[in-house]
């Protein structure tokens, strides 16, 4: 009998509190290689916090985070660098560096971590911008002159420039119009297939969830109340998830 491959990211009994408020309460979650896992939940339920544990931006109060077989909870910032090269992250508002052009933003990680020549960097920047349907005309622009959707696409290009194995998306469609949001959703699915990555998407957008998700993890009151496929989610009797799905479908 074939054994299942080990999860690429695993949260084992992870707890996190801020100022006495428990945000994550001994949560367990396994992200399988190659899947798109959506962490769904209401505002303030700890979705982003759980995501930020997966690349060591947050450290758990207790429990362990395992990335590709490596326990990362107690690693220093220096020791986390190889982990962060493997696990890229798209931030909610893009988090492009204001003082840098699009080219410099996308090239940043290549300059930081590779010995590529300037020509190779330029070629790679154009290639990854191509993934997100942006042409060379955006290269000299500053983030302040980009629309919200373009910022997210540039940020996505910056994230994939180093060829990460895992992509973390923090609210990728928040604040975007429905057409741009759908473009981002398609990119998530497309990049996951084209680059053979694993994706973890945090969102409260039901349409986005149903479009991109292979599996859904529903976070409620600091715990994952449900983990399963979209079809299983529809049949679930978890009240919070049922309410969430029906409210989303009505919207």
């Amino acid at each position: 009998m074939a054994t299942a491959p080990p999860p690429v990211i695993e949260l084992r009994g992870v707890s996190k509190s801020y100022g006495g408020t428990v945000v994550l309460d001994a949560v367990d979650l396994a992200v399988r290689r190659g899947e798109v896992l959506v962490i769904l939940g209401g505002s303030g339920t700890g979705k982003s916090v759980s995501l930020r544990h997966m690349n060591g931006l947050e450290h758990p109060d207790s429990g362990e985070v395992v990335v590709d077989g490596t326990a990362i909870s107690h690693l220093s910032e220096d020791e986390l660098v190889p982990v962060r090269r493997k696990v890229g992250m798209l931030f909610q508002m893009g988090a492009l560096f204001d003082s840098m052009t699009v080219f410099e933003n996308v090239a940043f990680a290549l300059w930081e971590h590779t010995r590529m020549t300037e020509d190779e960097v330029a070629a790679r920047v154009r290639e990854v911008l191509g993934y997100v349907d942006l042409g060379p005309e955006v290269l000299p622009l500053l983030p302040s002159s980009l629309s919200g959707g373009m910022k997210k696409r540039v940020s996505l290009a910056r994230t994939v420039a180093l060829k990460p194995d895992v992509l973390l998306y923090d609210e990728p469609t928040t604040g975007l119009d429905p057409v741009t949001a759908m473009t981002i959703n398609r990119l998530i699915v497309d990049l996951n297939t084209r680059l053979a990555t694993t994706s973890v998407v945090v969102t409260h957008d039901i349409a986005s969830t149903l479009f991109v998700a292979d599996r859904i993890a529903f976070l409620e009151r600091g715990r994952f109340a449900f983990v399963g496929t979209a079809a299983e989610a529809r049949r679930s009797d978890v009240p919070g998830l049922r309410a969430f799905l029906s409210a989303g479908e009505v919207a």
């Binding site: 931006l57 992250m89 988090a95 204001d98 940043f108 910056r158």
Partner: protein, 272 residues
């Protein structure tokens, strides 16, 4: 009716407030200490010289106007006040000596540091704070880069290195301010003013002042960067962090000025 009781007079109201303030101060110092520890670790790696030079320009060269104007104005007023208040004791004859010694040993370094704290401390906190609240600092970390190496180290090196230079130029402008008063108001003549100035100024006087300035620069940059990195809560949070940085940096400069002055006076090689 309906107004709050006179809370300040109530010790039970004041005590928790003091405790909270003390706790915040301790957390601030602890956080700053941890940042310094990270800074020392990052300083052992290769430095981004280009970024350091850019910060020396932004934080140092572009501060010259305000630090020189402050010193010039201080020189003017100090010469005027000395001449008039000490006129019975021959004040007019000692203004060159008084201006240069006050500026070189105390006023030049301290006022330059306060101006740099106001201009650069606020600028650093606002810039890094804006990056923090828009997740750009987290993006740096997520891309495997160190915010300490990328943001803090260049600013700390730049301000620390530029402070003695800014102070030296400021002292020169202060003496120039005194010269203007000496020639056009007191009418003692430029030659006399300059000769008394040069006779009075010893190498140790200048060094006593200049040696304090790298410490001031270090404090200003560390406090500015720390408050920026820990800013949270959007524009309001950046505003609060900026105000805190300027206030804390200014107070720190004033407090350490006393202790550094004392230290340099008692050191065996003696800058007195």
């Amino acid at each position: 009716m309906g107004l709050a009781p006179p809370a300040a007079a109530d010790p039970f109201w004041t005590l928790p407030r003091l405790r909270r303030w003390f706790r915040r101060a301790l957390l601030h110092m602890g956080g700053l200490g941890l940042m310094v520890k990270d800074l020392v670790r990052e300083a052992r790696k290769p430095w981004d010289v280009g970024e350091i030079l850019r910060q020396m320009d932004t934080l140092g060269v572009q501060s010259i106007t305000i630090t020189n104007l402050t010193a010039l104005s201080t020189g003017l007023v100090f010469a005027l006040q000395t001449a008039y208040s000490l006129s019975e004791f021959g004040g007019k004859l000692v203004i060159g000596r008084a201006v240069v010694l006050a500026l070189a040993r105390e006023l030049g370094p301290t006022l330059t540091a306060l101006m740099v704290a106001a201009r650069c401390g606020a600028g650093m906190t606002a810039e890094i704070g804006s990056m923090a609240v828009t997740e750009q600092v987290d993006a740096l970390r997520a891309l495997g880069a160190s915010p300490i190496r990328k943001l803090v180290l260049p600013r700390v090196v730049a301000v620390t290195a530029m402070m003695p230079i800014l102070t030296l130029i400021a002292v020169f402008h202060g003496v120039l301010g005194g010269l203007i008063v000496a020639v056009f108001d007191i009418k003692i003549g430029a030659t006399f003013y300059l000769s008394t100035t040069l006779q009075a100024l010893k190498f140790n006087d200048l060094m006593h002042g200049l040696c304090k300035t790298p410490f001031f620069g270090l404090e200003i940059a560390l406090i500015g960067c720390y408050n920026g990195l820990t800013a949270h809560g959007g524009a309001d949070g950046v505003g609060r962090a900026t105000t805190t940085a300027v206030v804390v940096a200014s107070i720190t400069v004033l407090i350490t000025d006393y202790f550094l002055s004392k230290l340099f006076l008692v050191l065996p090689f003696g800058l007195h």
